[in-house]
Symmetry: D2
Subunit: 181 residues, 4 copies
């Protein structure tokens, strides 16, 4: 599995805004979602990272790290790129060696088909839990990054206002890690 040098800025990798809009009305769009975690040396979770983000219409929402997989991009490169985009270049994520996600989240433009909803598109997201060891710095349009203990994250109300069903996804991640929900 040799590495091919990819120029992701090439014409075929990026869609013009109207082309992306058109594709979003016709095809499921592939995403990765990431639950960033801090773990101790035994792999026990100490905290989970949640982004505080300003939406285009001025609201503040809590979100997980999330983003599209680009044309000719490996899943693991998409994980790396989206983590770097949201947590900065010094986060030192431990990308899992296995390609198998802990769950697959299906975001429908129609609410209620699944617990996940994205008004822009039908997105199918491979969701991974990724330990990070370095320093995290909110990037770009991210206002802040909060680390919560699993117990605090599961407390009533904290996850209720997360966008697109990300609160559900975070609870599924903690359940997968063995926590009692």
């Amino acid at each position: 599995m040799a590495d091919i040098d990819l120029d992701l800025d090439s014409a075929t990798a990026w869609l013009a805004p109207d082309e992306l809009r058109s594709a979003r009305e016709r095809l499921p769009i592939l995403y990765v979602d990431v639950v960033p975690v801090r773990a101790d040396e035994r792999g026990q979770i100490e905290s989970v990272g949640i982004l505080l983000r300003a939406t285009t219409d001025g609201q503040i929402t809590r979100e997980l790290v999330s983003g599209r997989v680009l044309y000719h991009e490996r899943i693991r490169d998409a994980l790396m790129r989206n983590l770097e985009k949201d947590l900065g270049a010094l986060a030192l994520p431990e990308i899992p060696p296995s390609p198998v996600p802990f769950t697959v989240a299906e975001y429908f433009p129609t609410p209620g088909v699944t617990p996940f909803h994205d008004p822009r598109q039908h997105a199918v997201s491979l969701a991974f839990i990724v330990p990070v060891r370095g320093e995290c710095e909110p990037q770009q349009d991210t206002l802040d990054l909060t680390w919560l203990t699993p117990e605090d994250a599961l407390a009533d109300g904290v996850l209720a206002d997360m966008d697109r069903g990300h609160g559900v996804l975070l609870r599924q991640a903690l359940s997968h890690l063995g926590y009692a929900l």
Copy 2:
């Protein structure tokens, strides 16, 4: 998770040939791959199903059940639809209740990036092992369906001529099921 009645033949679900061609040059396309298996009552595999298919240029290839996920289609509905397309309406597949695939296969248009290759597109496929209990009848452009014991399937040469790396995927499935490769 209520069911929404979907008209998959509607304008937004299907792409015109040139639109699909354009999307394939710009976006990873979401697929499902299926390894159909016959299992005994203890879940032990008795045989795996392989399709014999005529390609558009007249060659005969061996393939797994495989197909696109359509716009606004659930993964489990894509599994059902593609199984029915290739094995007929009486195959009685046992679609797994969990959305987690046994592996994720990344097909690149450039050979050698991964063991999977699709000259038409960058496809990302969620791969599932699906027991079938009913009668299987090859459909449409499928010439035949062969059932092989795991031992025969793993014999040298049988899987070598499978298309797009499907031989690798079948071996990964058997490895996941506990077989010695």
Copy 3:
């Protein structure tokens, strides 16, 4: 992987009560836990099965299908035997072809180490979700078998009185299946 005919009633397969008691004070004991489910033809869960059982001290508890793995017994045979013990011989379970559990539950004799607790022993349980297609008849000391929709099962209080943390395990199973907890 040929089948070896196993006489599980032989002297080495079963422990005398005092030997089992001694082993339970010295070794983790291997279990399987099963969440029986009814699924539609697309693999979507319709209901989950919960046992109503009378404990030795006369209490009524709700439980999942659960039992020890015996000496020289395959995991899949332990699943089959314990399902038959609790649901009867006509339940027609679809034992998963893969040996990978959806989670591993660690039951400690000391409460609070994990969400799972068993005062008798340290048990490590491989937990599986198993669709059943046939008729289920409560067996032996099982008083009744209830089928609940996922929504009803997740309603407050229903799972709270399940023994040994089985309510947690059932919620983890539903989370693994994509439900919002």
Copy 4:
């Protein structure tokens, strides 16, 4: 999930040799197997670690990291302890946060039941892939530790002489990671 301070050297944690021998004739014994890997910053495997060990009868065998789970020991603590026992205290393993193994290996005292064989006992092993970041020093009865690229590890003959079916387990691990076998 609070940590309980465990004295693993206490009387109940360790079995006297004759007690362990007796238990091994009556009960499946719980193990963990570990495939240690070196990964790059994208989680791509660079090499896998194989132990060269002298057996009690003077033979040299290749093995994976492997060991029993003790009474009242968490799976993650058993992983940590067995990695430290074989690779030393400075290996800096990244224990996976999830309790789900990539496979479950069933070792039978009777050869041929599964690809795994242990003449001493019926052992059931939870198998994990664990990236290590630090310095590895063979410990105790381990003569040496070899790091092989996935390609070299999969070359004919390298894994054939691994003990107890560990060569099969290593190939299953590489298959799970997406490699072509």
